[in-house]
């Protein structure tokens, strides 16, 4: 397929996608997985034949007929938070009575 075709799928782009999604695939696994995804996408290119000029994208099936200006918002009232231990204890390396969530050092990553 020509390079300018937006529907041609490059393995390098799929590997980039895996990186973006924080999936660290070993060489052979990467090739196999990306190969499968490429094959699936090739199959889906038939979708491109459907003409969509002037059609608005439909991202969510919220009922447009319902009046959604007021009822979807919450009043600004404080509600009880979870006791700290209730959620901190779910962390993989949690220790009893901790104040903070402990994670591997993050320097170099910050945005």
């Amino acid at each position: 397929m020509p390079m300018s075709d937006p529907h041609s799928v490059r393995i390098s782009d799929l590997r980039n996608a895996a990186q973006l999604a924080r999936l660290d695939l070993a060489e052979d696994e990467a090739l196999a997985l990306c190969g499968e995804v490429a094959r699936i996408l090739e199959h889906f290119t038939t979708l491109q034949a459907v003409p969509v000029t002037g059609v608005e994208p439909y991202y969510t099936a919220v009922d447009a007929s319902e009046d959604r200006s007021s009822a979807d918002v919450r009043p600004d009232e404080v509600q009880a938070s979870l006791p700290r231990a209730a959620w901190l204890d779910l962390a993989p390396n949690a220790r009893a009575g901790e104040e903070f969530l402990r994670v591997p050092k993050a320097i170099g990553d910050a945005l």
Partner: protein, 488 residues
Amino acid sequence: MNLVRQVDTTAWLSPQTGQLWELVIGLEVHCQLATQSKLFCGCAVEFGAAPNTRVCAVCSAQPGSLPVLNGEALRLAVRAGVALGCSIATHTHFDRKHYFYCDLPKGYQISQAARPFCTGGGVRLRSGKLVRLQRIHLEEDAGKAIHDRGAETLVDLNRAGVPLIESVTEADLAAPEEAVEYLAALKETLQHAGVSACDMEKGELRCDVNVSVRKPGAAYGTKVEIKNLNSFRFVAAAIEYELQRQVAALESGDPAQRIVQETRLWDTEQGVTRSMRTKEGAADYRYMPEPDLPELQLPASFVERERSMLGEPPAERRARWQHRWHLSAKDAEALTHTRELADWFEAAVRAGAPPKECASFLLNEVLTAQPDSLSLLLPRQVASLVTMVAAGEVSHASARSVLRVTLAEGTEPEVVVQQHGLRMVLDTRQIEDWCRQALVGREAIIADVKAGKAAAVNALLGPALKLAAGKANAAVVRETLLRLIAES
């Protein structure tokens, strides 16, 4: 590198090359909205709360949790847009901005991408220059990551989900002091609108700066983003630093020093910006409409309601006070420091206080007495006290004492004046009496005054006031003395 600031134009001259350079600055300001609870859940927004105690299933991104929009956050955001002269969209929706970080529990931030709820508008500087706003959008804040405590990074999610508006200017600013003026005006507008307290110390106002340099008339240079600026002073300093750094790099011609589009951190201690050494170019945030939050309608009535909550812009208030009440510019500025103070002042004037005297009394006595004076007093109490002073019923010194008592005990000023017998005597006959007594045995002074040395009477003021036990107005006493001497 020591660039010379030009006088007639906003440009800098490089002594080395004789080249003029201009600054091109854009500001991205994050401002925390003054809500009780977070943007998408009911956890309290509370600076200084114990770590990780204002967290729930939603803001810790527990599997299965869903966001629900805080109506007050939306109202305040629209109010901010109206206050800054923006166009408010009729419909608005949220988008997901994806990246991985330990302070971003969902792995995406709920923000607004292509269609923010607000566009246009701006802030006019004193020079008349309009700093245009590109957009304002609503988004949630991330938590806090602490890197300098041990081998691990510590995370506190109390701040995760706090409502923010992000306002982005066009690249209209051209000098460090313009940036500072813009920020001060923005802060004042938002604070007076009740949108945010904008307390930078609490992180309620954060500023990122985009800076580039160019030769006059040339195309824009590569811009650099600077983060971690938590005071207006540092904003100006960082811009200054970047100006010098970028011009030096460009003039050196050294390819190794070429300006790279990157994010730099302001180092407060060293007074320099440092590269963060991250990948060049923009991150791929893969924006996608937020499926868990329906599109919202913002009808004109909604927008108009927020407009009606705004009140008079502080600059207009100051102008009116100076024009109508002859307040000094300095006093007007000080009294519009917060909306609360400005409203308080006007309430006192409405309660009968003479404006100029009230302004002075508020600034010099009330606010300096103790930090929370305004919350312990009523405007009409101050009005009553100021009115008494202006009418000469109470001396200035006494008023200070009355204030202290009212603050401490809550007693009404008139009552305090009564109880302590602080009321000045206005009775002319009584004053004459005291003066006559003071004149006894003072023939020498009387003679001096009659001979034309009016100032000699000042020596009698002290004794006369002492007889009056301080309850006579000094100016009135002096006048009375002079009159009696003249009549004698």
